[in-house]
Subunit: 444 residues, 2 copies
């Protein structure tokens, strides 16, 4: 193996010679290419690093002094770990909706701009609650399946834990995520998490709902299911039985451990790719019905008033969407030079096929790399190298899913929806990088 | 869609008729088959459920009383969530190695028998420390690359965060995991976590080490790297430069958030598939050398004395291994009937190819299903249906990796290793199910 330094190369020709030594393609790309694959991505990033004169990321002096933590014993072992105290700023952004009028109503948003990879740590999964988080004793909780069935059934948590399980990594997104970017006439200056943080992703384990429905025996007239939570709000939503038989899950575990209280302990419904509050938390009842029930939670919210005077109800499947998390709102780039553009993308239709990046507000697009496994109804992490020349730039990402759906522009959403429309906003997000390096939320 | 109840089917012939209605293969398997795929697995599980007369998992009466948590507002929103108080027993098992002699020396083991899926939640990742967990201020921490390089370099955490990143789901296993099952003359009766819990798996994000080494410029004489931690123990290990250039990572994130203190905050080395303590935590220095350094941490431990009087040093790559976590030690099966056998498997050589299950102590084997994506150097979750007839049974799992490596028996390990050998134990684990349903650790 031959290893050579790249850092002191003086010009493009020297760099290309080195690439030949390393048995890598030796022609430096003039512009990022659509075909950028993972290997090429790392090369391109490396080249950006090597060829950027302003980019000095390492200090060449070696220090030999030892800090206190290297000379005295550290903390003892513990039974359940917590983040470093130096990471206290990595927390959910709490927004109460109606204050004392409806205690516990509001949201706690995932700080997506501080996270990496695709897994949301359990403590930071977003929480949208309508009457607070119930403190459920699992030995006293039951799930009932009733209505149009041959045999109504009650399941204790203990009994459910004996069923065959499946594990799947799925995102959950609130239908109201990113609403501020639609309803605010001028772009609100806030972090990516504050604006778009009602999205999280976990390795869920549970029971396919189809297994339990087959046990209860659904009548031919049973076409819909009313799912109801055990919280004081009695949050309830209707969903078609086809989804139940396709890929719905009763989730009991989240990222390995039992599901967290804010995500539905001891169990929640998961409808992969469908709008957040249909994934009913603290699930207590599944009633099989002939028609949708039209509960308060599905008539008072989540319906999209359109510009033609009609309204679209039951927009269950979430649109294809992406957010650049680095760089993003309220960040400041310290100097021109190399940056990695990184973010998350997802689709309610299945897999993400491609993510395109623009650094000039949509005039030109190039492909980002999807880093890691690409799973259906799951976040993907995308990455793209970027050499910032110090001039104002408009960073955008645009995801396309396996069914060919593509993210629309904000202008298209505004044209199709009524002035008070706000749900299901999957429009392209723009981060404006100013000449001083500050990053702002922008409408383009 | 036709949905019918399975639960009241009286015999095998009725069950087979129903399977035809559901357009599934209608012949009931006499014995689990090698070719069991995911779809067949769910069917087989469902059949075991339906055909087991002793299996009544659901209560058929519907209760309509509402508990307190359904009638009063729940807890308010919070910034960083914690598990339910009802899950307090899901914690790491702390074992101090030398008490007051070396504060912080010991291990905290992952309770693998209480977990599902493949992700270990950050609070439950195993911790093996040699002088406690240092409380490192990331603004005062540096990583130095020095020794046989063209240009020694220091990296602050802030500067490293500007490098291009990769995200990979990797397991980490201590070389001393499962040692008790080798050195104890009689099997110790304990949980799977206590016996085998020095294994965890996370979605790690960081920088390929090769990128940083190319920047420093490794001299042709540089063949090894000494990695050293900033803890008071100065934990240090040598590893060959080939591994650094292949897939080594400087990890800064763990399951989305910054790496936890017990796992190396603000950064650790990751050598995918290699023994745990080489993945040096609190990484402060990488010194490029011509030869291995033979530090105290690589000479006093982790060497395998063999039965032929010689010793095997530098067994870096971990063997292929699997553990059934459900059912497992100290559990008790409440009655005969259907159970899902579930567990984790992994290999230091890359991907797991297959996991075989035996319920009669190795006389017969059938394939388990790998549930979810199968990634290199990553845990897989395996599952297999089992109908317990109420008689004593010996449950075993045996993993085979993509290079054809297969788990050995305990007898084979004892024959090849000296009497005091204990490291790198990847032998087949046996759980003995007694007639009363209790599950014991057993040697076969």
């Amino acid at each position: 193996m031959k290893i050579t330094k790249l850092r002191t190369l003086k010009n493009q020709s020297q760099t290309e010679n080195l690439l030949e030594e390393l048995s890598l393609p030796s022609k430096l790309p003039e512009n990022p290419k659509r075909e950028l694959d993972r290997r090429k991505f790392m090369q391109t990033s490396l080249l950006a690093l090597a060829s950027s004169p302003a980019m000095v990321m390492a200090d060449e002096s070696i220090k030999n002094d030892f800090p206190a933590w290297s000379t005295t014993p550290g903390k003892g072992l513990n039974e359940y770990g917590q983040p470093s105290k130096f990471e206290a700023a990595t927390k959910r952004g709490v927004a109460k909706a109606y204050g004392d009028l409806a205690p516990g109503t509001g949201s706690a948003r995932t700080p997506i701009e501080k996270l990496e990879g695709i897994i949301t740590p359990n403590g930071l999964h977003f929480d949208r609650s309508h009457n607070g988080t119930p403190d459920i004793d699992p030995t006293k909780h039951q799930l009932s399946i009733h209505g149009l069935v041959d045999k109504p059934l009650n399941f204790s948590v203990e009994n459910l834990l004996r069923y065959p399980m499946i594990s799947r990594t799925y995102f959950v997104e609130c239908a109201g995520n990113s609403a501020a970017n639609i309803i605010a006439p001028q772009p609100i200056q806030a972090t990516a998490g504050t604006l778009h943080g009602l999205i999280s992703c976990s390795d869920w384990t549970g029971i396919p709902l189809s297994v339990l429905l087959r046990e209860a025996g659904v009548n031919p007239a049973g076409k819909w299911i009313l799912a109801e939570g055990a919280d004081a709000a009695g949050m309830s939503r209707s969903f078609p039985i086809e989804k139940a038989m396709d890929n719905a899950m009763i989730a009991l575990y989240q990222n390995g451990e039992k599901i967290r209280p804010e995500q539905g302990y001891p169990m929640r419904l998961l409808l992969p790719g469908w709008e957040g509050n249909m994934n009913v938390k603290w699930l207590r009842s599944l009633k099989i019905t002939a028609e949708p029930t039209h509960t308060k939670d599905e008539t008072s919210k989540y319906t999209d008033p359109l510009s033609n005077g009609k309204a679209r109800q039951f927009t269950f499947e979430l649109g294809v969407k992406s957010i650049i998390t680095k760089p993003s709102g309220l960040m400041k780039l310290p100097s021109k030079g190399f940056y990695e553009i990184s973010g998350i993308a997802w689709s309610g239709a299945g897999k993400v096929a491609r993510i395109e990046i623009s650094t000039n507000g949509g005039k030109d697009w190039f492909d980002a790399v999807i880093d890691g496994p690409n799973q259906a109804f799951c976040l993907v992490r995308f990455r793209a190298p970027w050499n910032w020349n110090g001039e104002p730039a408009f960073l955008q990402s645009r995801a396309i899913d396996e069914r060919g759906n593509i993210q629309p522009t904000r202008a298209a959403y505004k044209a199709n929806n009524a002035v008070d429309g706000r749900y299901h906003n999957n429009t392209i997000v723009t981060w404006a990088v100013q000449a001083d390096g500050s990053v702002q939320n922008a409408y383009l």
